[in-house]
Point group: C2
Chain length 221, copies 2
């Protein structure tokens, strides 16, 4: 894999430059940016569908949706009354330049909070800084208690780990205590929430934490 | 992303050369090679743990395990009495050269069937031919009925799609008919099996199909 390492380094360096530019641009305009990452089907869109209405009038939000194909997710976000811009890419992750282009589509009425729903992939998005202020890793509990140890990079760099599909725990054979211990081992400083976006169980604690963090970012703290 | 496309093309071309070499080498030696791909936590290792003992004495098997970190999966395979070689890589997929190196570790007693458990990723492994004879996409039904449409490349190129965790269907809110229709739309020629590797439900049909296909490969058909 020496070719791959050799060719990726300048790509990542270039990405970091774009990401720094994004972060400055967002911060100057008081836009808090949240990058939500997970494996496919962990429930990123469902979490957003349920979270956005709970903000009520508190923040003006917008969502950038990353997908390989289809604009199903952007449509779902628009149905809860929030603006969404779809990025369709053949790439396995979003990068900072794609986010820059997408953010500019909201220029007429800048959001106060910009959510980025990354491509469903627990590996590659961890290497690409997008210029966000908060990284959230969403994880479906039925993926198994060992996964934080097997995909440590994304967990380690996250400000928050959301364990979703908690309603399936009794049927899944997955031990929540073991999963929580593994999350804590890999990512000792992340805030951790166990919830079910589908049933609504546990959502309030996550929304309260997120609102507080968004407030801190927008206040420049 | 123009840099990325530009730099990846020669990497992919080089990989295809290694893959063709692998396929020739495996075929000449009567080794049927099965590449199992899925998102993280869809149950690749559990499927292998349950499938391998069902072959009984029929085939001498070995497994190449791809992982970002840990050798937990190779250990699980060895516990069912099958040789396993672990590849730990920082990369988001296995490539043909990694497989070449790993296959050589079995040179003293070549297997008749070599399973490759790819990195848990529904995106990148689809671009890397490993020199395998059969591609299997494993999918956890709780990831949602829309996913074949959102990650079409891996489904489209697969000889077989295994829908796992069928035991969770009644609790998941996922409609199996819709999922099956989406799999069929994206991948009309793939054999499709709905099963639960954990409970054993539906495993026999998959193992029978796989045994038949392995027989065809080894007979040079």
């Amino acid at each position: 894999m020496s070719e791959r390492v050799a060719v990726e380094t300048p790509v990542l360096r270039k990405n970091d430059e774009y990401a720094a530019e994004n972060r400055r641009w967002f911060t100057e305009r008081g836009i808090a940016v949240v990058n939500i990452m997970s494996a496919p089907g962990a429930g990123k869109t469902t979490l957003l569908e349920k979270t956005l209405p709970m903000f009520g009038e508190r923040f003006r939000c917008a969502v950038i949706e990353g997908d390989l194909q289809t604009d199903l997710d952007a449509e779902r976000i628009r149905r809860v009354g929030v603006r969404a811009h779809q990025i369709n890419t053949t790439c396995c992750h979003l990068d900072a330049r794609m986010v820059q282009g997408a953010a500019e589509t909201f220029i007429d009425a800048l959001p106060q909070v910009l959510f980025i729903e990354n491509i469903g992939n627990l590996v590659c998005p961890a290497s690409y800084d997008l210029g966000e202020h908060l990284k959230v890793t969403l994880f479906s509990v039925v993926e198994g208690a060992d996964k934080p140890k097997k995909y440590p990079k994304m967990f380690r760099m996250s400000d928050c780990v959301v364990l979703n599909k908690a309603d399936l725990l009794p049927y899944s054979g997955v031990a929540l205590e073991e999963l929580l211990a593994n999350v804590h081992d890999v990512s000792p400083v992340a805030a951790v929430f166990t919830l079910s976006a589908r049933t609504g169980e546990g959502l309030r604690e996550w929304v309260d934490w997120l609102s507080g963090k968004i407030g801190e970012v927008r206040a420049g703290r």
